[in-house]
Symmetry: C2
Subunit: 122 residues, 2 copies
DNA sequence: CCTTGACTTCGAGCGCGCTCGAAGGCCTAC
DNA sequence: GTAGGCCTTCGAGCGCGCTCGAAGTCAAGG
């Protein structure tokens, strides 16, 4: 069984140690185990959670919704349908957002093309 | 020559009138023409600017970078290469961000599949 | 004339998600 | 034994991008 210090866990997850402590305080992580010194040891389950929370955050899920999700996880197996619904809903929002960004990017592409043409003809 | 009130311009651009005033204050729009009453009239050039600024914002460009862009526009035609560079750079960042969101979404998809399977087998 | 409502300016306030700093504990190496 | 380094808690602070509210002006309709 492996476990990591907060700074190693942070490095692995690509977030800061400050952020990990914040996530724990905010209820996005279960209470992390401690050494005698009080230092956190991130076990595999903690790291998996941190990883998934990071994916939710990277796709723009607000902290409060992430908390709702992990509260469901803690509440036991029969909340799986609810978790599923929550994730599916989130996925739809993300897809819609991606589509909007792509559309906006097309307008920017067009402007880039315009500048390229004008630069070339001078 | 058409022109719109602030509320009509806001509706058309999909932002609030508050936001349009904020954008003008922040230097993202050129000073908008006024009626005798002091009310803004958004002309076609204003609307085109609002539209483009909205696309930059929708793709996550920070206000301060949008301002740098419009400052270049105001500075005249010979800043076009610089504007081009700015937009190209932004486009790369957006593409990288889109790629990361897609990767994160795949992890979420996997979790969704997992829940679906488990739901089915019960 | 009076109300209604859309507008004006200005500065303050807010929600989010960290981010930081102070003050202190503990371990290791020299 | 002391210096260095990594950790702890706690609460405050920050950067961003709006968002709002107060107080006032103006034009149109009844």
């Amino acid at each position: 069984m492996t476990s990591l210090s907060i700074s190693d866990a942070a490095a692995q997850a690509g977030v800061s140690a400050h952020t990990l402590r914040y996530y724990e305080r905010a209820g996005l992580l279960d209470a992390v185990a401690r050494e005698g010194s009080g230092h956190r040891r991130f076990g595999e389950a903690d790291l998996a959670r941190v990883e998934f929370v990071s994916r939710l955050r990277a796709t723009g899920m607000p902290i409060r919704d992430v908390r709702r999700y992990v509260d469901l996880v803690r509440a036991g197996d029969d909340t799986e349908p609810e978790r599923l619904a929550l994730l599916v809903e989130h996925r739809e929002r993300v897809r819609a957002h991606l589509a909007e960004v792509r559309r906006s990017l097309e307008r920017i592409d067009a402007k880039i093309d315009l500048y390229r043409e004008r630069t070339r003809s001078r």
